[in-house]
């Protein structure tokens, strides 16, 4: 097994200012993706306040670098499955902000025709296996998606994402065991944002370095910083190389933070303002912007143009969602069975 890289609990705050390691295109892609997710989420919250979006709504603000870093290190043919804090992951996959916003509005033009809402976007075209609402249940599913790739003899893998809360579900232990036993092409990613709803990792876990869970299965496992796309990209790239070489699964604990509560109804009184500020000081969108400018990777005008484009895109997505129709009531019976003439009970 690979050497496990031990990391300090708190990843270091200062990053060396050096020449950029990656291309201008890479940085601008990261910036654009993270800014798009940030603005989408801010607008989603606003729309929730106006009761245009209903149900549960968990936003990704603060975690954008995770989506950006992962996407740069995998291919569109690789699969991703994740939990319910998933708008950012889906947008990272390339689902349009129109389809995502319309889904939040429950409109028929949404990613899943208004049938899933905030927690359940899916797209076969984007190899995006959802948006899953039961904590940890997507871990065996992602393992099975990887199983199918190995069965079919491809070199594709499945990125299987979950939160720190899910890391203590039995489904994880069962999946890790079988994935290692069968050497399945699965990259397990725990987005550790510190809190399972209102309960901190420290309060529910004797071992708070969650990546160490992988050690029980001899799975190569490490913790990486989730507040910078570079760090996420590097960690994922290394893991992906390992998996594609046929050595089986890999586990990354990506240490990140959500600025908002668990869902829109959560004021997050279980943590201090100082703690939130500490992470906001390392905000991935701002830090990437300042690096781009400081290292002269791109000009202020280019950054302004991206911002302007995204703001217009999100405005247009809201307009698209507003103007789209709700599903027809008759659509209720669609997509429950593939069988076209399934005899539903309709007393």
């Amino acid at each position: 097994m690979d050497t496990v890289v031990e990391q300090k609990k708190k990843t270091t705050r200062s990053r060396k200012s050096s020449k950029p390691t990656y291309s201008k295109e890479m940085y601008l892609n990261w910036y654009e993706m993270m800014f798009r997710i940030r603005k989408f989420e801010e607008r989603a919250l606003l729309m929730y306040g106006q009761q245009k979006v209903r149900g549960f709504c968990h936003v990704y603000i603060g975690q954008e670098a995770v989506a950006a870093g992962i996407e740069a290190a995998i291919t569109p043919e690789d699969a991703i499955v994740t939990a319910y804090r998933q708008h950012g992951t889906a947008i990272g996959r390339g689902l349009s902000t129109n389809a995502c916003m319309a889904e939040l509005f429950g409109k028929v033009t949404g990613a899943v025709k208004g049938k899933g809402g905030s927690m359940h976007f899916f797209s076969a075209d984007h190899r995006y296996f959802g948006g899953n609402g039961i904590v940890g249940a997507q871990i065996p599913i992602g393992t099975g998606i990887g199983f199918a790739e190995k069965y079919k003899g491809t070199d594709k893998l499945c990125v299987t994402m979950f939160g720190d809360g899910a890391a203590r579900q039995g489904a994880l232990y069962e999946s890790f065991n079988m994935a290692m036993n069968w050497k399945l092409p699965v990259l397990y990613i725990c987005e550790n944002n510190g809190y399972a709803m209102g309960t901190s990792v420290e309060r529910t876990s004797n071992v708070t370095d969650l990546y160490k869970v992988g050690h029980a299965f001899d799975m190569p496992s490490e913790a990486i910083d989730g507040m910078s796309p570079e760090s996420v990209y590097e960690g994922v790239k290394k893991a992906v190389e390992h998996i594609r070489s046929g050595k089986g699964p890999y586990f990354l604990e990506i240490r990140t933070y959500r600025y908002k509560g668990h869902s829109v109804s959560d004021p997050a009184r279980y943590r201090t303002k100082e703690e939130v500020q500490e992470y906001k000081d390392r905000d991935p969108v701002k830090m990437t912007e300042s690096k781009i400018l400081k290292d002269k990777i791109a000009t202020a005008e280019e950054i302004a143009a991206i911002k302007d484009m995204i703001k217009k895109e999100i405005d247009a997505a809201v307009k698209f969602a507003e103007e789209s129709p709700y599903p027809d009531p008759a659509d209720l019976f669609e997509d429950n069975y593939t069988q076209a003439d399934y005899p539903f009970i309709v007393d």
Binding site: A79, V81, A111, V112, K113, K115, G116, H120, F122, S123, A124, F129, G130, G131, N132, G133, I134, A137, I139, P140, I141, G142, T143, G144, I145, G146, F147, A148, E149, Y151, K152, C158, G170, A171, E174, S175, N177, M178, N181, E334, D335, N336, Y337, T338, Q339, Y342, P343, F344, D347
Partner: protein
């Protein structure tokens, strides 16, 4: 041409034929490969198909059921064997929250062509945790189809249909009847899902049942015939979707219905049938629909208590006489 074979061999033929036909079909579960199946349903399959397609799992029902769901979403056609449906309770999250809902929550982006199969129902003195009946649990869930059949020929044809079906299917078999023999046709055939079978024609009363209670129903019908009572006996074969047309047609002829169902009575299969019949054949009924269920208790170990718990021919005969107003 037909030959007489046991239920386990009929199920084995169904899986073997479908795996020869389609490379995407595979079997996974506890003891299915090297042990040849806890009840020998998969005997010889490892030898024919190899460890890639006949896969022993650890004892991790939730995990391997979920791996099956993910594999089905990603293009394979898994058969997931549970040693019994009692153990599948650990996997209900994957069956109910994921397999059943994949098509709906993804709005058709992903389907989930998977078969979950294993024995359901009591199997002797196995006590509380190993004796439950799951048809009504699973049949409550939109998105699933539920098959429950012990007739070897039909079970084979239904399992083949299930493996080819693009919807997730729960197949309920019987530990006690894996050795039960019946005439099974040679060669290729499919039995349609969602269609009941009239096993015995009659005119005085309809008895409807499924799975191993079919033998109880048929035995009762034999006894009743000796008393000059002609019972029509229907095997549901599929629980969801329920073929109420066949039931209604029969009740319109016999005007009386007894449901024999090993499920617990509350909100069980018998309750649904009683509703359907009062709704669609109310004017044809000469007596209230009556049911013979397992007792509304957990199933204990002692033989006297098992006897008291289970439906049996005497209880069915008593129920038939009630609906015929023949009891003294």
């Amino acid at each position: 041409m037909s030959r007489e074979i046991a239920l386990r061999d009929a199920l084995n033929e169904a899986m073997t034929e479908e795996m020869r036909r389609d490379e995407l079909v595979f079997l996974m579960g506890e003891e299915v490969a090297e042990y040849n199946g806890a009840y020998k349903v998969s005997k010889g399959m490892l030898d024919e198909f190899g460890a890639k397609r006949v896969i022993d799992t650890p004892i991790a029902e939730l995990g391997f059921a979920g791996i099956g769901v993910g594999a089905a979403m990603n293009g394979l056609r898994p058969i997931v064997e549970f040693m019994t449906w009692n153990f599948a309770i650990l996997a209900f999250d994957q069956i109910v929250n994921n397999a059943a809902k994949t098509l709906s929550q993804s709005a058709g982006n992903f389907k989930c062509p998977i078969v979950f199969r294993g024995p359901s129902g009591a199997a002797g003195q196995l006590a509380q945790q190993h004796s439950q009946t799951f048809e009504s649990w699973m049949a409550n869930v939109p998105g699933l189809k539920v098959i429950s059949c012990i007739d070897p020929a039909d079970a084979k044809g239904l399992l083949k249909s299930a493996i080819r079906d693009d919807d997730p299917i729960c197949m309920m078999e019987s530990e006690m009847l894996y050795g039960y023999k019946g005439l099974v046709p040679e060669g290729e055939y499919l039995t349609p899902i969602g269609v009941a079978a009239v096993r015995r024609e009659g005119t005085d009363v309809t008895i409807v049942s499924f799975n191993k209670m079919m033998l109880t129903a048929l035995e009762a019908a034999d006894e009743l015939a000796k008393e000059g009572i002609s019972a029509e006996v229907i095997d549901l074969r599929t629980i969801r979707p329920l073929d109420h047309e066949t039931l209604v047609k029969s009740v319109k002829k016999t005007n009386r219905l007894v449901v024999v169902d090993e499920s617990w009575p509350f909100a069980g299969v018998s309750a649904e049938i009683a509703y359907e019949i009062q709704k669609y054949a109310f004017d044809y009924l000469d007596a209230p629909v009556t049911r013979v269920n397992a007792a509304d208790t957990s199933l204990p170990y002692a033989p006297t208590l098992v006897e008291a718990y289970m439906p049996n021919p005497a209880k069915v005969i008593k129920a038939v006489k009630e609906v015929m107003y023949l009891n003294a």
